[in-house]
């Protein structure tokens, strides 16, 4: 039995802190997976977040008789871990593109039209913090969908809500985030 499984079982028993405990475990595994996969693949090939998250799940827990409850917790932790990894990367690349040196991307310097894809990722990430304060469930869905690369069905099972709810909240959250980003950038 792996540590992951133990933590998951602790989650299942409703023990506190277990979800937090899961995060570093998953985090490291995802990084390792990404690094290992990259080493074997040709440059320029892309890796999907979803593929990594799923592979981490299979590797760490196996495909046995785990309940969806556990799997849901795993995906939540994995998606959050992916988010951190991706944001780290995007920050670094964005810094390079904008001349390096800056500790943090300064949003007010950017025009929406000028943003690179990496900037967009960072902007979404920051707006996500604002969404979290307003509507935590919608924010969770964004993490699972955008950073974790999960399908609506997987998100629904993960959060134990209906698929249609996922679709609705995801659509609205995207629109809301975009509006929030635009208004941030337009601030004098």
């Amino acid at each position: 039995m792996s540590d992951i499984t133990q933590v998951l079982q602790a989650v299942g028993r409703g023990e506190g802190r277990a979800s937090e405990d899961l995060l570093p475990l998953v985090y490291e595994e995802l990084r390792r997976l990404a690094a290992a996969r990259m080493a074997h693949e040709m440059a320029g090939q892309t890796l999907q977040a979803t593929a990594l998250v799923h592979e981490a799940w299979l590797r760490l827990v196996g495909d046995g008789d785990r309940t969806w409850q556990n799997r849901g917790h795993f995906f939540a932790a994995a998606s959050e871990a992916m988010r951190r990894i991706l944001i780290e990367n995007a920050r670094r690349k964005s810094r390079l593109k904008h001349g390096g040196g800056q500790v943090r991307l300064d949003i007010s310097d950017l025009e929406l039209a000028d943003t690179t894809p990496d900037d967009k990722v960072l902007l979404i990430n920051e707006a996500l913090d604002r969404l979290e304060a307003k509507d935590p469930e919608a924010a969770r869905i964004v993490v699972l969908k955008f950073f974790g690369g999960l399908t609506n069905q997987e998100v629904a099972q993960s959060l134990a809500i209906g698929e249609r709810t996922v679709d609705r909240q995801w659509a609205y959250a995207k629109a809301w985030l975009f509006r929030s980003i635009r208004s941030e950038l337009q601030k004098p």
Partner: protein, 756 residues
């Protein structure tokens, strides 16, 4: 989310699904119902929808490109890397000072222990993939043995536990040193100096083997050289850790195992490469020592670690199990010239001299240590060390099949002066030959002694094996305890059944008690009697009070299993063990269980002493009145039984009355007292009373067994209290006969507490 936002979301989503612009406008008109603010917001959201999709698509594409970027700087705002803890943070009693290394299975820190002594230690945190509970259970099982190791060349393992994230860690004596191979190369140690170090390592391993500890992971990174006043001293680290972190290999753990495997396949013995994990003994360490020697001598391992890994798991196993490695001298000759020169230089030698040094004895010694079949290896680390020492002394080595010429050559080499003289003075040729044959005789004796020593080593190995078996027993017990904790009693029972002979230990007793009771409740009396019988040997270190209860358990199980001939033995054991007890509770219990069957005078002499002890006041033992009356009531049962067995029926009746007069309700005790009273009355020809009492006792007992027996508790009575009553009931029934017209269950007499 507030109500307004919820409404905005609902309207937005519904409108989004309406693609036709006209219909959408109509829908919004109706849905917003005059709320112009809402309508404006939703329309703005809908209008920017294509931008939104583009924005997220672009961001999503960016994510795909960067996931694989492996050169991610660690840290930032990220959580700590797995198995890595922040410097300065605390783990148990230890404060992490700095990271000093990272290996295949863990990260090592220098840490400071603050109590009970302030000192620096090495703390190793095991990486992902380990089942922490099992690792720690296995470590705890080894701990006692590890503590016994006390050797200058062994770094002690001090402690083990789990971090707050549930990762196992081990604390070791801090060794400031570099790995042996690096040390030897950097300092250009010649072969002789290397062999001296190697012999010390063998002695350290031998010490551990004699304490029953197998290292299982001997490799250069686990053997560090420290300097003591300029003298290099090897230190073997990580003892016991390989054992603790090695679980049963299944498909699921295979990957992890493989990871660990990759760390050291070059040092893995054929039986370890089997990955069965079952059949490993001290001779696996001998093999690894052989590899170490190989590397010290040639700079290479018998099989190249990289090639092994690249060949894949199956091929790797096959190589280790089947392929004969090259002899060290052959290996060196196959090196590229440049490498050969460097290898020789590092050994302070010219290439031809190095090859010559290795050829012969050293080849044989290494190859004997590397035998695929462990029976043909050196049987102990000492044996290996002695053979190396013989080589250094120019004595014949065991490793090589003796030939006349071989022994003669040895003879010449060791007695150069004699031979030089013989050669120089031709006249003395004859004398020389005489000396020669005399020396040859001596030589043969030396060889014979060497072989005898080797056989002696084999005997020592057997002793070490027995120590190892004890360590394994401890491990099994630790595992069984865990299983019992998880209520996997059947598995625990299977484990414990294979453990023999039983060593006294609190843990072992706990397991036997659990599984024995479990069998009893399942009406499986033969295994119950076996486990509970073994318990009587396992619990000798337990408190008197607890172990006397175990005698109650074992006694009734023995009788129920039908092994009445063993009961006599059991009674003697109980009486002799508790003869001198000063605890009235224990004494009372032993009196009771020793008299479950009638006994003759001879066997029951200690009963008088015990009865006297049982009647002592409970003062100091029990501190509340309820407990005291509870104990006194049980004592009355025992005394009633004692008087009954001694044909003092009036006395017995008196005790029964006392027992039933106590106010607390303990059904099996009351049943026992009633049955005893029935028998005593019958003996006094009070047949009516006898029948009435027996009926009441029977009602209680049969009612309970019909309802189902459970483990029970002290206050309501344990399972064995009920079984005790049932056994007496059988005796009473035999004596009095089936009592007429038993009272129905639940009648006032049967359920009223206290009787009388």
């Amino acid at each position: 989310m507030n109500a307004a936002a919820q409404r905005e979301e609902a309207v937005f989503y519904a409108a989004l699904k309406v693609t036709d612009p006209g219909q959408r406008a109509a829908f919004l008109e109706q849905a917003c119902a005059g709320d112009t603010g809402l309508r404006a917001n939703v329309e703005e959201l809908l209008a920017s929808q294509p931008d939104v999709e583009d924005f997220f698509a672009e961001g999503g594409a960016a994510l795909k490109m960067i996931v694989g970027d492996a050169s991610v700087p660690a840290g930032l705002a990220a959580p700590t890397r797995l198995g890595e803890e922040e410097i300065g943070s605390r783990i148990g009693r230890y404060k992490l000072l700095q990271k000093i290394g990272e290996g295949g299975c863990g990260v090592v820190y220098m840490a400071e222990q603050q109590e009970p002594v302030r000192r620096r230690v090495a703390l190793k945190i095991i990486k992902l993939g380990m089942d922490t509970k099992n690792v720690i259970a296995r470590f705890e099982a080894e701990r006692q043995a590890l503590a016994l190791m006390d050797h200058l060349n062994i770094a002690r393992v001090l402690d083990g536990g789990a971090t707050h994230t549930g990762r196992p860690y081990f604390v070791m004596e801090l060794v400031r040193g570099i790995r042996i191979t690096d040390y030897c190369d950097q300092n250009h140690l010649d072969t002789r100096q290397r062999l001296d170090l190697f012999i010390q390592i063998c002695h350290a391993i031998q010490h551990a083997h004699q304490k029953g500890i197998i290292h299982r992971d001997i490799k250069p990174s686990n053997i560090l050289i420290t300097l003591h006043d300029g003298v290099p001293v090897p230190k073997v680290i990580d003892f016991g850790i390989a054992k603790a972190t090695e679980g049963p290999l299944t498909d699921k753990t295979l990957f992890t195992a493989y990871e660990q495997f990759i760390g050291t396949p070059a040092y893995m013995s054929p039986e370890q490469a089997e990955l069965s994990g079952l059949d490993i003994d001290t001779r696996s360490d001998i093999y690894s020592l052989g590899v170490l020697l190989y590397e010290l001598l040639t700079g290479r391992t018998p099989f190249d670690a990289k090639q092994l890994v690249q060949s894949g798991l199956d091929e790797m196993r096959r190589t280790i199990r089947e392929r004969e490695p090259q002899r060290p001298s052959t290996m060196v000759t196959t090196l590229q010239h440049a490498e050969l020169v460097i290898t020789a230089q590092r050994r302070h030698a010219e290439p031809p001299k190095l090859i010559l040094t290795l050829k012969g004895d050293l080849d044989w010694i290494v190859m004997k240590a590397l035998e695929k079949d462990r029976v043909r290896r050196y049987q102990t680390a000492n044996g290996l060390a002695m053979d190396v020492q013989r080589y250094l002394n120019n004595e014949p080595v065991v490793a090589r099949p003796p030939s006349r010429f071989y022994r003669f050559r040895k003879l010449v080499r060791r007695n150069r002066v004699v031979f030089a003289a013989a050669g120089a003075v031709a006249v003395a040729l004859l004398a020389g030959l005489c000396i020669c044959s005399w020396l040859l005789v001596r030589e043969r004796q030396a060889y014979r002694r060497a072989v005898q020593a080797e056989q002696e080593q084999a005997r020592l190995r057997l002793a070490a094996e027995s120590a190892r078996r004890q360590a394994e027993t401890r491990e099994r017990i630790a595992h069984a305890i865990m299983l019992v904790g998880q209520e996997r009693v059947a598995e625990a029972d299977k484990l414990i059944a294979e453990v023999s002979p039983t060593q006294p230990s609190f843990e072992c007793a706990a397991v036997l008690r659990s599984v024995g009771s479990w069998h009893a409740l399942r009406d499986e009396w033969e295994p119950a009697a076996q486990r509970l019988g073994a318990l009587l040997d396992a619990n000798v270190n337990d408190a008197w009070d607890d172990s006397s209860l175990d005698f109650l358990r074992a006694g009734v199980a023995l009788v129920e299993s039908g092994r009445t001939q063993d009961y006599q033995w059991f009674r003697e054991k109980a009486l002799s063990r508790f003869r001198d007890t000063s605890n009235p509770v224990s004494a009372e219990r032993i009196v009771k269980i020793a008299l479950l069957f009638p006994a003759d005078e001879k066997g029951t002499a200690p009963l008088d002493t015990l009865a006297k002890t049982a009647n002592k006041p409970f003062s100091g033992l029990i501190d509340n009145v309820e407990d005291e009356s509870f104990r006194a009531a049980w004592r009355a049962v025992s005394m009633a039984l004692l008087d009954y067995r001694r044909a003092n029926y009036a006395g017995s009746l008196d005790w029964c009355r006392q027992c039933l007069a106590f106010s607390d309700y303990n059904a099996p005790r009351i049943a026992t007292a009633r049955i005893l009273r029935a028998m005593a009355c019958f003996q006094l020809h009070q047949t009516a009373e006898a029948n009435a009492e027996l009926a009441q006792g029977r009602n209680l007992v049969e009612g309970k067994f019909k309802a189902g027996l459970d483990v029970g508790a002290a206050a309501q009575g344990f399972w064995f209290d009920w079984v005790f009553a049932r056994i007496l009931l059988r005796e009473a029934t035999g004596l009095i006969g089936e009592s007429p017209a038993p009272l129905p269950v639940g009648s006032p007499a049967a359920s009223h507490p206290g009787g009388e």
